[in-house]
Amino acid sequence: MINAPPIHRSEEENLQLFNREFVPHIDAMYNFAYKLTLDEDAAKDLVQDTYLKAFRFINSFTEGTNAKAWLFKIMKNTFINEFRKKSKEPPKIDYHEIESTYNSDEVDEDITIDLRSEAVQDLIGDEVTNAINSLAVDFRTVIILCDLEGFTYEEMSKILDIPIGTVRSRLHRARTLLKQKLSDYARKMGYVNNS
């Protein structure tokens, strides 16, 4: 996304483009930054770094293309390259290790939790935020991109630099883990799933 041939515009035009295409996404960018870092100050720094890079490379951005996906890709790369090492995120566990762990026969792939009724949703309340935040960052990221931000698999593949097949399997693992966590919580709260 950042490798498109440069387009020459005046600084004034670039600033207008920046305000028109990038600024409207600041809420989503901050939310993504917070979900990645789980820290307000780090999230603020990550958003600032992302927007500064976006401006620096604005001549590589083609107007009318997906500005939000472009910004998310810059943020993801900035997080991996600069923030992950100094953030409060616990040491990264090898993703393939996680993936193979949850591919094993010991994990119940059929786990489900019945959230169709308002009563159960109220019982679980905002535990979904805690449950998602407790996932490893790679799993957390795909849930945010897909379920919260509504990116397509193809957009996610470009943002994350992974094949679409990996997007799908990572989403599947993330959702299985999330259901496991919500199901455990519901059980702890006294709700017994009758399925």
């Binding site: 600041i26 809420d27 901050y30 603020k44 401006f55 949703q121 919260l148 989403l171």
Partner: protein, 85 residues
């Protein structure tokens, strides 16, 4: 594996594509026929859909600090020497 079982396996594979808006026409048609003919498939769809909706509704979005945009614009001005519009 019976054809009913293999349909159920295929349904589970297609279900996330449908929920994520990624299914093609053939997959949508298969999905529709399964939820019409298989009560367990319908139940699974309703449960998975409820989880997705629950995430959208309850996963708290963090709001940026009010001064963040101003700080970014000031940094851009000082780093790149552009004037305010």
């Amino acid at each position: 594996m019976s054809s009913q079982d293999s349909n159920k396996v295929l349904f589970k594979e297609i279900l996330p594509l449908v929920l994520d808006g990624e299914a093609d026409e053939n997959q949508k048609a298969f999905f529709q026929s399964q939820i019409n003919s298989c009560p367990n498939c319908r139940l699974l769809y309703e449960q998975e859909n409820a989880i997705k909706e629950f995430i959208k509704k309850r996963f708290v979005r963090q709001q940026p600090p009010q001064d963040l945009l101003l700080a970014i614009q000031q940094q851009i001005q000082s780093y790149f020497s552009v004037s305010k519009t």
